[in-house]
Symmetry: C2
Subunit: 347 residues, 2 copies
């Protein structure tokens, strides 16, 4: 593998000169610069980044810690963060912390090993697992940004969606359509999804609806049972709010299997605006917490921190506003609805 000194020899100059010429330093004369660049190019020289990184104490790499990428929620986030990172001139080291986020601590170690210049840590349903590790990093002023809400977060930058406002939007939309009997599918494993429900309740209350059925469902199986249950109710609901799209999708499937028509007999709303929702029929009404904004905010914050590690005036929190995406799965309730009593239509 050809190295700097080889080029220096070929060009008959010192290594410093070659290094400066390739870095396009103004301290090298134009002709010599051209010559050296030519020689280097012809020889197929590529700088050894590892050596360079050691010297300049930076890898121009950011570490992205994500629980998993198989879950339909994360890929877009990864994509957008990767794009933003690339745009900012950084490489991306991808760490999967596992569904249980076991490996979070291990992933954070990357920054202490100088492998990466900064870290974007994405938390999920389990909240922050590597709290100790993160606390320690925060205290040394290492550039980290936390993506997703966590309770009592260590003093690092944070960006997260306004889940409560999102839930509220859904409640308003559904109640304005005229629904009064509404069921919520959702557990509250961490703050984000909890807030969705809180916001939703607030919206219901404003519309004068006090009582609602809340079914704590987090898995497909729980959704299935929940749907079965509510179809047997004496006075079944006319609308369902599922706290995330993947559950909403599953709810739709179960309803169809029970020959319940959406949105004619039941309206369904989700949350997250996954691509999935556009493949369903009817297309899913949902809430978008702009991932573009989220990703960009996160990378921007991080880049800023990495560029000037000294100037640091406390952790900043950025809140991403929600947007209601009205598609086809919610409509006015039909007063004549009689779920579960009709024959299954011959579709």
């Amino acid at each position: 593998m050809i190295k700097l000194s080889d080029i220096a020899q070929k060009a008959g100059v010192s290594e410093s000169t070659v290094s400066r010429a390739l870095a396009n330093s103004p301290r090298i004369s134009a002709e010599k610069k051209k010559l050296i660049q030519r020689i280097a190019f012809d020889a197929g020289y590529k700088v050894n980044q590892v050596a360079r990184n050691l010297r300049v104490r930076s890898t121009r790499t950011i570490g992205l810690v994500v629980p998993e990428v198989a879950n339909p929620y994360f890929p877009r986030l990864v994509q957008l963060i990767a794009d933003a990172a690339r745009e900012a001139g950084y490489h991306l080291q991808l760490h999967l912390s596992g569904v249980a986020q076991d490996a979070e601590t291990e992933c954070l170690a990357a920054i202490r090993e100088q492998r990466v210049d900064g870290v974007v840590l994405v938390t999920s349903e389990r909240g922050l697992v590597a709290r100790d590790a993160l606390n320690e990093m925060a205290s040394t002023g290492a550039p980290v940004v936390l993506l997703g809400w966590v309770n009592d977060a260590p003093p690092v930058d944070m960006v997260y969606g306004d889940d409560a406002a999102g839930g509220y939007l859904v409640a308003r939309h559904i109640t304005e359509l005229g629904h009064r009997r509404i069921v919520v599918f959702g557990a509250a494993p961490h703050r984000g999804t909890f807030d969705r429900l809180v916001g939703f309740q607030r919206g219901l209350k404003e519309a004068g609806i006090d009582t609602d059925v809340h079914i704590p469902a987090r898995t497909n199986e729980e959704i299935r049972l929940g749907i079965e249950y509510l179809l047997r109710m004496a006075n079944p609901p006319t609308a369902i709010f599922a706290y995330k799209d993947s559950l909403a999708a599953m709810a739709c499937r179960c309803l169809r299997q029970a020959c319940v028509s959406i949105p004619d007999q039941i309206s369904v709303a989700g949350f997250d605006n996954l691509d999935l929702g556009t493949y369903l029929c009817p297309q899913l009404t949902t809430v978008d917490l702009s991932m573009e904004q989220t990703a960009r905010s996160a990378v921007d914050s991080l880049v800023e921190r990495m560029k000037s590690p000294t100037t640091w005036d406390g952790p900043k929190h950025r809140l991403i506003p929600p947007q209601l995406i009205v598609r086809e799965s919610c409509s006015h309730p039909r007063s004549t609805n009689s779920i579960g009593r009709t024959e299954c239509p011959p579709i």
Copy 2:
């Protein structure tokens, strides 16, 4: 940031001894080893990997080049490769080459800059864009494995699915169900998807079906037009084969909007076994080219090449066998079917 020499000083030994103690070398006495490890741990010492990498000429990182991760096909692949890499003790640097795979060459440069020890290059519909770069790398014996078929590939290891066999399986399944009027949605942008169609044709021919309708559709819009077209046919098909699940899903949506029932009036089969297929109603019958196997093969090949860069007996190709996943979207054709003539059922 605390470094090796600091520990050496604290422990009153030389840097070499510390280095060896931490590497658990048998040449250091047990007590001293314990002592040093203790001191290092207490001081919160973490080795500077950049320095280490420079010295040992390896980063224990593999580069994964993927067109994008937003497309539902890639995330699982990334996940599995990341898992396999981690298991093998490697970090992952993720490069997104872009839908157009423009950045492929740039991504491959990472290996020449010693940033990564090896590369898994995933090609997509555009085939291999960075042919020159890859050829050059292959000639220097750099560890690269190509994931996905490409024509006239440079001499590097390759792993790809047996698309033809997969297409054949679908054809057999559909014809065995009794379908004779079959339409294929698919273009042939690169070898893989082309082979799906070739295998499919072969299956049809074996069943004695010569004529089939082939609609070259690659986008959702093309699918929509295609569906419209075939619903207007005098003698519409009873089965549809879409060359990938995302198109099959879109086809299902269009059919539902036209009040065509699946699989009663039309059967639909896809290819790829995306998660998406299980969210649809009916769930999609499709073909699986085990991503687990693909990912593992790729990483195994790569690790082998990285471990012994010298012993190299020509490029190996590994073929991943397909598996038919029978779900709900294909059934026997109903002779009384009269697509497009009925009223839309009151779903």
